[in-house]
């Protein structure tokens, strides 16, 4: 088994999760390759967060198996498992009583208690990677802007250099412009580190833009799992085609040619003005 799964970072095998009568995830089977950036999209209650939390054992499946690096997570020590998996959640939830430095070095401190020098270097490195100046290190989360908080959250999740990063709507609470910047950052970090990312979102634009693969979930079942191109070109179900209809109709002509396409919003607006 070990040899066949070396290039598979995370695998779900017929995973079901239900609370009493209510099923939140049914028969999920899925392989995530190493270095993949999987975005998980669906409306609330679709089971995307549930599936995510099974990777670091914050939740246990009712039936089925979740494997990380080819090992059944139930056979691993949850503490060790979690320390090798970065975790960033909505609003990033920094520890309010700790400085930026203490927040970022939280996991490294859990791992190596004595080696302060190494921890300080790691903090400095990740501050640079997420684009934060070092003079913020002594600040408390309440003294940071929303965007800065998200960056600290990402740095904290990555500080121990994990192989896998789990993100649960990390940019849900920031404005449109900051979100664009953060999306660019996380894409760059993914490219530079080759880390495997699972990213939960309810924004299809974000899912298509960031993901090397997109998982569409609805009511606890997989609607489609494929590259953004596959999703856009061949929506597998009615749900998926509704989800991506706007993106399918988006026209990416350069700015100076926008009015050349008579179906673009810009051309139609121009035509309406000219008709007056």
């Amino acid at each position: 088994m070990g040899t066949t799964t070396t290039d598979t970072a995370i695998e779900y095998r017929d995973v079901c999760k239900s609370y009493g009568e209510k099923s939140v995830l049914s028969h999920l089977s899925l392989k995530v390759k190493r270095g993949e950036f999987v975005t998980m999209i669906g409306s609330s209650g679709s089971g995307k967060t549930t599936a995510l939390k099974m990777v670091n054992r914050l939740l246990e499946p009712t039936s089925g198996t979740v494997l990380v690096d080819g090992r059944d997570v139930r056979e691993t020590d949850p503490i060790q498992l979690r320390r090798n998996i970065g975790y960033a959640i909505q609003g990033s939830v920094l520890f309010p009583h700790m400085t930026v430095e203490d927040n970022i070095s939280y996991v490294p401190n859990l791992l190596n208690k004595r080696d302060h020098d190494r921890t300080r270097k790691a903090v400095h490195k990740w501050m640079g990677i997420v684009g934060l100046p070092d003079d913020l290190l002594d600040r408390y989360p309440s003294e940071l802007s929303g965007g800065q908080q998200q960056r600290v959250g990402i740095a904290r999740a990555l500080a121990a250099s994990p192989d896998i990063l789990l993100m649960d709507e990390p940019f849900g609470a920031v404005d449109e412009i900051t979100r664009g910047q953060l999306q660019a950052e996380i894409s760059r970090i993914h490219r530079e580190t080759g880390i495997t990312v699972m990213f939960v979102t309810h924004d299809i634009g974000e899912a298509l833009r960031l993901g090397t693969r997109v998982l569409v979930l609805d009511g606890g079942t997989v609607q489609q799992y494929g590259t953004p191109e596959e999703i856009l070109a061949d929506p597998a179900t009615e749900f998926v085609s509704q989800l991506v209809s706007r993106q399918r109709h988006t026209c990416d002509l350069p700015e100076d040619q926008l009015c050349a396409c008579e179906h673009s919003g810009a051309a139609r607006a121009r035509a309406a003005l000219d008709a007056r």
Binding site: L58, Q80, V93
Partner: protein, 514 residues
């Protein structure tokens, strides 16, 4: 009154300072125990939620026990003294501590807790690094409440022997010294306010962030720790160095004359011998609680009254008269291994006093006269009188009387109650200082109901064997105080506001004993 209070404070500052230190010590021990145990219990029940309800139920129940009965329950187990006071205060301090910790711990944002868990912290790491610091503001406000409450309650705990400012309050009440009561209360209030202000400062410092504030906090914390350790050493080391075996533990009942006798005993013994005397003054509950302390060896001697020893201690039937003294002495030796040494020469017998207008209205002279109209009157007496074998029930039976109403009150309040008309008759002691000035008539015990109550010292024989010189000292007091002398000394303390110690010294000097 304000000038009296200031005089008292300035003249007897040493006395109050000692009580203040004791108060702080007792409360501090209780507070520290409550913080540790209450905090741990609060953390445990926030981890194992199923245990939360029953645990909170139990501490809640303990909290609702009235303090007086709590002390009553504890005395048989832990005796009279510091231990009982600390236990009682700790029990009351637990509820606010457990509840604040539990509330603080369970109200930490679950998203933050999940983030900490998801990042791979063990339960312990998450608890220490995240949950506890975030719960700290709530816990801290709980501690502040608890500390204020404990300091205030510390006054009550002093009723059962240990020191503390409650001693001043209780002594003020029992010796009719209002200024003393007020000073004791004021100092307790002041102590509570000062400590609360200090804790408020600590709370604010803890919420301050930034590197400089943290560095200052660390220095302040180290400074405070050094001061605490120094204070603790200063409080305990001298006590440990002093040899404890040469100390005679003297107890007295909460009565003015017993405060005077206690001081006289201490002064005389320490003047003539190398023995040290530790006075435990005004033990609430009187005979029953002191007797328990005598039997356990906690006390070595105390002034007692023959009739009380006969009926309440030996539980003998029948009315005691002084020609039975040899039997009394023999029984004490045989059953308790204690002796009566140094009979002072005065008797403090019970009597019934009625207000003058009541006496006139019904033309009352004797107890038999009183029996006829008792059903229309309200009798006031100490709780002890209604309890004791030779007390209220026996009196009613002997004279076939029954009072319309009875009121339990503390010895120091009886005469005021009689004067104000809230009771019509009171049980008095024949040496009551206030009796000489009260607008009241003492009735005649025409059937000789009340036994004789001659005052003398009850001493453990073991103590007498270890310190034979003690017997010589106690013998010196034999026959030195007449009934009039005692009433006059009581009057000086109660009405003139003199210090029992000063009155005791004057008395010893007048007899040429010191």
């Amino acid at each position: 009154m304000p000038s009296q209070i200031i005089d008292l404070l300035t003249q007897r500052w040493d006395f109050f300072q000692g009580l203040l230190v004791e108060h702080v010590e007792i409360c501090l021990v209780a507070i520290l125990i409550a913080i540790v145990f209450g905090g741990v219990a609060g953390i445990l029940i926030s981890e194992y939620r199923k245990a939360a309800r029953p645990t909170l139920g139990v501490v809640n129940f303990l909290y609702t026990i009235p303090s007086i009965s709590m002390l009553g329950f504890l005395i048989p187990f832990s005796g009279i003294g510091d231990a009982t006071a600390v236990i009682a205060l700790t029990i009351y301090a637990l509820l606010p501590m457990v509840r604040a910790t539990y509330t603080g711990m369970t109200n930490v944002d679950p998203a933050i807790m999940e983030a900490a868990k998801g990042m791979g912290g063990t339960r312990m790491q998450t608890l220490v690094r995240v949950q506890l610091p975030l719960a700290m503001p709530v816990i801290m406000s709980g501690i502040r409440n608890m500390v204020t409450m404990t300091i205030a309650l510390g006054g009550i705990a002093s009723y059962i022997g240990p020191g503390g400012l409650g001693v001043a309050i209780y002594r003020g009440i029992t010796t009719n010294n209002t200024a003393m009561t007020i000073v004791g209360s004021l100092l307790i209030a002041l102590l509570a306010l000062v400590v609360d202000a200090i804790l408020g400062f600590v709370e604010r410092r803890m919420q301050m962030r930034g590197q400089r504030a943290r560095r200052t906090n660390r220095r302040l914390a180290i400074g405070a720790a050094v001061v605490c350790v120094a204070a603790a050493l200063g409080a305990t080391v001298p006590g440990m160095l002093a040899s404890p075996s040469d100390t005679i533990h003297v107890a007295t009942k909460p009565m003015t004359e017993q405060y005077v006798m206690g001081e006289a005993l201490k002064t005389l013994i320490e003047h003539d011998t190398n023995l040290k005397v530790k006075l435990t003054e005004g033990v609430a509950g009187g005979t029953s609680n002191i007797e328990a302390g005598m039997e356990s060896g906690q006390f070595d001697l105390y002034p007692e009254y023959t009739g009380t020893g006969w009926a309440a201690v030996l539980k003998n039937k029948g009315t005691y008269s002084e020609d039975q003294f040899d039997t009394l002495q023999a029984d004490y030796k045989k059953r308790l291994d204690m002796s009566w040494v140094g009979m002072y020469g005065f008797g403090n017998t019970f009597g019934i006093a009625v207000r003058s207008d009541v006496a006139q209205k019904y033309n009352l002279k004797t107890y038999s006269d009183l029996a006829k109209v008792a059903s229309q009157l309200n009798l006031g007496a100490e709780p002890d009188f209604f309890e004791r074998e030779d007390g209220y029930d026996a009196l009613c039976k002997a004279y076939g009387m029954s009072f319309g109403k009875t009121t339990e009150m503390d010895a120091g309040l009886k005469y005021d109650a009689l004067d104000q008309g809230s009771v019509d008759a009171i049980i008095v002691y024949t040496t009551d200082g206030k009796l000489s000035t009260a607008d009241a008539k003492v009735l005649e015990d025409d059937k000789g109901f009340f036994p004789s109550y001659q005052c003398g010292n009850v001493v453990r024989n073991q103590t007498l064997r270890e310190h034979p010189e003690l017997r010589t000292e106690l013998k010196k007091l034999q026959g030195t105080i007449s009934q009039r002398d005692m009433a006059r000394m009581n009057y000086e303390v109660e009405e003139k506001g003199k210090d029992p110690k000063a009155v005791a010294r004057e008395f010893l000097k007048s007899k040429g004993l010191i």
